[in-house]
């Protein structure tokens, strides 16, 4: 018996089995109370008789419920086609009601007999028809509840699996990000430093340390943990500083960061690919100077991050700003979805020559 129960418990999400059993218990308590109340003080009926009527029904139906739970678990594949699911359960109704009548009335006869009384009732055929009708209504109600609970359990399980798959994907993406430290970036930065050594050794020293900080930041990242935006911004600023040294005077980076926003958490390296895109597709192919604006603010408890790159007034871009942006954006979107589900979004927008990426992250991660 206990192994059987364990099996049922294992199969059912514990969170769902408990309310189901509680509702079941409450339902029968009410039935008994109503029956006792209805017949209270009646001349013909003794006080314990309603208890026997309802108690026998409850006992037999509880046994049937446990069997049904087991049976129903095997029918889970049919949840997608509700009519077949209900039919699979309801086709047992004639047999069930026969069994029910036999067991319940047997119990009642036994109880009355023990008290030295006779349990009087209509003819067996009439009883069977009457109980079948009642049982049909009763089963309909409880099957509805059962169906709802199982459907929810299935959905919940699927959701969990989906989320786990997305997390795995997001981790893989981060790994890819870390390993794809652009060789172009690295070698050009080293060349810049090499150029600065004789003319501006202090600046060269600063850049060496920025680069080291950046590399250390990349290497120590962990996909599972969120980082404060403050930390993400620190790496971004190092990257921007290096790139500005390389491309000055063709680029200006402006920051507008609200303190409240800096305290919020984000997945690590979330903005990095977007800033890289802004340089690779905004600054590098542009003949005119480009301005990159990075804003972070909290709006109605939603973290809003905005990255905008646009040619400075008067200039215009040679190619479309979105060329080749796709992978970085998709990557970013997938990571947001894995971490926050529907609570976060990423949108892009082309305003004339300006290309704008906006990320919104709601208050509570999934």
């Amino acid at each position: 018996m206990s192994t059987h129960q364990n099996k049922v418990l294992q199969q059912w999400p514990v969170g769902l089995l408990k309310p189901l059993l509680a509702a079941w218990g409450l339902f029968w308590l009410l039935m008994i109370l109503v029956a006792v109340h209805d017949n209270f003080g009646g001349p013909v009926v003794r006080w314990w008789q309603p208890l026997v009527w309802e108690g026998s029904s409850a006992l037999v139906l509880t046994a049937l419920l446990v069997i049904m739970l087991r049976y129903s678990r095997r029918q889970q594949a049919l949840l997608a086609t509700p009519w077949r699911w209900f039919w699979q359960h309801l086709q047992w109704l004639p047999l069930l009601s026969g069994l029910f009548v036999l067991l319940t009335y047997g119990l009642r006869h036994l109880a009355y007999g023990l008290a030295g009384l006779t349990y009087e009732h209509e003819g067996w055929l009439m009883i069977w028809a009457y109980e079948t009708l009642k049982l049909a209504l009763f089963l309909g109600l409880w099957l509805g509840v059962l169906f709802g609970l199982q459907f929810f359990a299935g959905w919940h399980e699927q959701q969990g699996r989906l989320l786990a798959a997305q997390r795995t994907l997001a981790e893989a993406r981060l790994l890819q990000l870390k390993s794809q430290l652009q060789p172009h970036f690295l070698f050009n930065t080293l060349n810049t430093i090499s150029a600065l050594i004789p003319t501006d050794p202090e600046r060269a020293d600063v850049l060496v340390n920025r680069l080291a900080d950046l590399l250390r930041g990349y290497l120590s990242l962990d996909a599972a943990t969120l980082v404060p935006l403050r930390e993400e911004v620190r790496l971004l600023q190092h990257y921007a500083d290096i790139m500005t040294s390389r491309f000055a005077p063709r680029v200006a980076v402006r920051w507008q960061l609200a303190i409240a926003a800096l305290e919020r958490s984000v997945p690590p390296l979330l903005l990095q690919p977007l800033l890289e895109n802004a340089f690779r597709h905004g600054v590098e192919p542009s003949l005119a100077p480009v301005t990159i604006d990075i804003d972070a603010r909290v709006d109605d408890d939603v973290l809003v991050l905005r990255l905008r790159n646009a040619p400075a007034a008067g200039g215009h871009r040679a190619g479309a700003a979105t060329d080749g942006n796709g992978i970085g954006l998709r990557n970013c979107r997938e990571r947001l979805r894995a971490q926050y589900g529907l609570a976060a979004s990423l949108t892009t927008e082309q305003q004339g020559d300006a290309f704008i990426v906006t990320i919104r992250i709601g208050a509570s991660p999934l």
């Binding site: 070698f187 060349n191 090499s194 040294s245 390389r246 590098e284």
Partner: protein, 261 residues
């Protein structure tokens, strides 16, 4: 004196080179360019002996630029790149000199020694071969990267870059080609065959021994006698499609060739 032009879009990278060349007694840096277009202009106005050419530049890449140089007047070319395995392999195969960023002074000295040696041998075969090789390698690299989208053309005293899409039709004139745009005409010193090899074959199609047309500039086609056709462009210009090239054009227009009557 060796006259040098340096083309790199990153200022520190140029600074490093100008500084080093400044310390060499026999070298004069006569021009610096921060993009491909400026490099073309510097090349045009300074006629240097040596061009140091970064591959990744805005406006016109180093490869695009080199692929369009006339070997007869091109300087010695040394390509610079931070990371481009494909290009580096091509340079090595053609025994071209190239600089990989970052590089040190010893590497620069070695490069300059080679340049001196080549220039000392004057207009000897070796130097000419080197330049020709460099242009050919660039053309090959450019073809691997896709057809040219921009062309360097002379415009009066200067050079200018035009979008290939803006060309309506191309007319061959011995070793020259005339590029006909809606309003302007540019002349390039290159054979038609060679230019067409670098352009998108689905866009520029030969319709006559001496004429190629931009397919998107065509308005109508009228059959003439003997299988020839009259091609009218949106600009109103009328060209002749000769029988020989009919199949090529019709295929590209997505039509089957009508049977000869």
């Amino acid at each position: 004196m060796i006259r040098v032009v340096i083309a790199d879009d990153e200022a520190p990278a140029r600074l490093k080179l100008t500084r080093w060349f400044g310390m060499q007694a026999d070298v004069l840096v006569v021009g610096e360019a921060a993009d491909g277009l400026a490099a073309v202009q510097a090349l045009d106005s300074q006629r240097p002996d040596l061009l140091l050419l970064d591959i990744r530049m805005p406006g016109l890449s180093g490869i695009e630029l080199a692929a369009q140089l006339d070997p007869a007047i091109a300087p010695l070319l040394v390509f610079i790149t931070a990371y481009d395995e494909y290009a580096v392999t091509a340079f090595e195969l053609a025994a071209l000199d190239y600089l990989l960023k970052p590089f040190d002074n010893a590497r620069l000295a070695k490069m300059l020694d080679r340049v001196r040696a080549r220039l000392r041998s004057g207009a000897s075969a070796e130097s000419a071969v080197h330049v020709e090789n460099a242009v050919q390698v660039a053309q090959r690299l450019q073809q691997a990267r896709g057809p040219l989208t921009r062309l360097v053309v002379p415009a009066g005293e200067h050079l200018q870059v035009i979008a290939v899409d803006a060309i309506d039709w191309i007319e061959s004139d011995d070793n020259y080609v005339h590029l006909h745009l809606a309003q302007k005409r540019h002349t390039l010193r290159r054979p038609l065959q060679e230019l067409l090899a670098q352009l998108d074959p689905d866009r520029f199609v030969r319709i006559h021994k001496s004429v190629a047309v931009n397919i998107s500039a065509i308005a109508t086609l009228e059959p003439l006698f003997k299988g020839d056709h009259e091609v009218t462009l949106h600009s109103g210009k009328v060209l002749r499609l000769s029988r020989r090239f009919k199949a090529g054009l019709f295929t590209r227009l997505g039509r089957t060739v009508p049977l000869a009557p």
